[in-house]
């Protein structure tokens, strides 16, 4: 996607803006606003709390957010321009798909907005942390978060190159994740084969339940929204056919907060999946 290029363009623009209004600490924003749940994590991990004007309300829910404790005292917004403009932010960071009308409005009134895409790999995650850290003047902290994540990654054992259990992700509405995504890299790093790629899914796509059943898989990774309040989108994750598969397929429930955004929590996602892969491999001879 155009994400890295967008970030670079935005950085260039912002640097230009920063130079126009040069102060003592050139370019260090003091009133940062985040309009996106994944950006919340980036901002809350990197910025000083007194420099954060607002993050989204989603970051307060420990079920959805990895930084609920960090966000506890920070004011929240619901992605609406009329909440943001009175805060007089000097940097707004939004996702490229969300809060579109708010972003358009903010740009129109001349507020600097950076749009950030979804990371497609661990490298993207690292790059994003460094870029944002640079933008908000916390370069050191950015490096330290990345280094910490890399250290934990390095500590994980290398999975075997053969005997990789076949797995697929099943999200609400039958969505799945294919090649060229962060989720795919996590699965691969954990020693699983992502079957969605086999079925021709590129990036994100929808997979019919019939295909999930008919393709022989060892691990079914189901979104944790399965156990939440009911909706048709999540009922599909509880379809009886999936439990009928339980004798030949292991079902793992994965909370979205671990891998929907790019952050240190992905390491925990990898750890969980590695454990599952290990167990599946151990059971294999008995099958």
């Amino acid at each position: 996607m155009r994400c890295p290029r967008l970030i670079l363009t935005a950085v260039a623009l912002l640097s230009a803006v920063a130079h126009l209004g040069a102060t003592d600490t050139p370019g260090k924003p003091k009133r940062i606003v985040s309009l996106n749940m994944c950006v919340d994590e980036l901002v809350l991990r990197l910025a000083e709390p007194e420099n954060i004007a607002s993050v989204t309300w989603l970051s307060r829910d420990p079920k959805n957010s990895n930084v609920a404790d960090l966000g506890a005292g920070v004011p929240v917004n619901h992605g609406l321009a009329e909440e943001i403009i009175p805060l007089n932010p000097d940097l707004v960071i939004a996702g490229i798909y969300t809060a579109r009308t708010a972003v358009a409005m903010l740009k129109r009134v001349g507020i600097p907005v950076l749009e950030v895409g979804i990371p497609k790999s661990l490298d993207d995650v690292r790059r994003q942390f460094r870029e944002i850290a640079g933008l908000i003047g916390e370069r050191e902290r950015g490096e330290s978060v990345v280094a910490d994540m890399d250290r934990r990654l390095a500590a994980l054992p290398r999975p075997p190159s053969s005997d990789r259990p076949r797995a697929i992700v099943l999200n609400p509405n039958g969505a799945t994740v294919g090649e060229g995504t962060l989720v795919d890299e996590i699965m691969t790093r954990a020693g699983l084969t992502n079957v969605a790629a086999e079925l021709g899914i590129d990036s994100y796509g929808q997979i019919p339940l019939e295909a999930v059943v008919a393709t022989a898989i060892d691990v079914l990774i189901v979104s944790a929204s399965r156990d939440g309040p009911p909706a048709l989108a999540t009922e599909i994750l509880r379809h009886p056919v999936l439990s009928a598969l339980s004798d030949r397929t292991r079902v793992v429930v994965m909370p979205g907060r671990l891998w929907n955004c790019g952050g240190p929590a992905v390491v925990e996602a990898i750890e969980r999946l590695m454990q599952v892969a290990r167990e599946v491999r151990a059971e294999a001879p008995a099958k």
């Binding site: 295909a211 939440g228 009911p230 048709l232």
Partner: protein, 344 residues
């Protein structure tokens, strides 16, 4: 006076024997169910799957067949039956060919009832609470309709009542979805308004089948009374029919059949309009006989539409109501045009 040739032509117009008609439609339904089982999103060796099922082996093919394709085919049949038979029943009761659970608001109200139960986790999603919610909604709408439009409802009153109920129920459904705790709910209005048979499981089928069967039974035994109503309420009474009991039977039967159908598949419009109208000449316009015939025709139409939805290369899968509306709405236009000419 009639021209001699026209008289001859009329005398040659044949109405098939009732038994033959019912049997042919039943066979058509069975064939379409077979076709429905054979069509899907993963390559399936149907014969092998059947063999596995009969042997009791839980192979992947058997699972796809029994857990995914079979409920879809069964629901297509039962829901279509419910819609067809209740369309015929409503038209017989209101003596109006435009009466149909979708148009007159019964389905929309049933959707609201079901949505209230489902999204707010009232007694768990997979319990009788779900179809009962649909049934309660459908019953409320039918009572309201009867009160608003009275007996032998004029077309305009009936349609206006239906518009009112549909608007109200639609708004309430949307409100309920917005208030629901699950963020996905908001976009699911499309399912409830247009209907779909996708990914429904066998437990849903067993949940609604007994209620539907009672509904069908209540409607079928109303046949003779609907025949009597052809001549108006007074004459029907003089032929020995209890009109108060008939109304209750029809309201209860429609609520049970349509309410539970909608609770599981959303509202599928026009089936109850198109099928009775097409098949009425084949039963010599007798409302009583039309009930079963319409039910079977409705099952056939729903199954055919569902097969079409899976064969069309449109992804994500089209909602079933899109296909039935594409067939049914022009049909409705034609009906209105013809009725308007008669009224003129």
């Amino acid at each position: 006076m009639m021209h001699a040739s026209t008289v001859e032509a009329l005398q040659h117009a044949r109405v098939p024997p009732y038994g033959l008609l019912v049997a042919s439609l039943a066979i058509l339904v069975v064939i379409l169910m077979g076709a429905s089982l054979a069509i899907g999103y993963a390559p399936l060796d149907l014969v092998q799957a059947f063999r596995d099922v009969l042997k009791g082996e839980k192979t992947l093919a058997a699972l796809v067949l029994t857990e995914l394709r079979l409920p879809r085919a069964l629901l297509g049949c039962f829901v279509g039956l419910s819609l067809g038979i209740s369309g015929a029943a409503m038209q017989g009761l209101m003596r109006n060919p435009l009466a149909e659970p979708g148009i007159i608001g019964v389905s929309g109200a049933a959707a609201f009832g079901a949505v209230t139960v489902f999204y707010f986790g009232l007694a768990g999603a997979l319990s009788f609470a779900l179809p009962l919610g649909g049934i309660a909604g459908a019953a409320a709408a039918t009572f309201l309709l009867y009160g608003l439009s009275g007996r032998g409802a004029g077309t305009m009153t009936l349609i206006l009542a239906g518009v009112a109920i549909n608007s109200f129920a639609g708004a309430l459904t949307s409100l309920a979805l917005n208030l629901s705790p699950n963020p996905y709910a908001v976009t699911e209005i499309v399912f409830w308004l247009l209907g779909s048979l996708a990914d429904r499981s066998l437990p849903y089928v067993w949940l609604v089948l007994p209620l539907m069967i009672i509904g069908w039974g209540l409607l079928l035994v109303s046949g003779p009374a609907l025949d009597g109503l052809t001549l108006g309420e007074e004459t029907a009474k003089s032929l020995g029919f209890d009109l108060g009991r008939l109304r209750l039977q029809l309201i209860a039967g429609t609520a049970l059949a349509v309410g539970s159908a909608v609770a599981v598949t959303g509202t599928i419009a026009f089936v109850g309009l198109v099928v009775p109208h097409l098949l009425r000449p084949l039963v010599a316009h007798r409302p009583g006989r039309l009930l079963l015939v319409s039910g079977l025709g409705g099952a056939a139409l729903t199954l055919a539409a569902d097969i079409g939805v899976r064969l069309l290369p449109i992804r994500p899968e089209l909602k079933l109501g899109v296909v039935t509306a594409i067939i049914g709405a022009p049909f409705l236009f034609g009906l209105i045009y013809r009725l308007r000419e008669e009224e003129a």
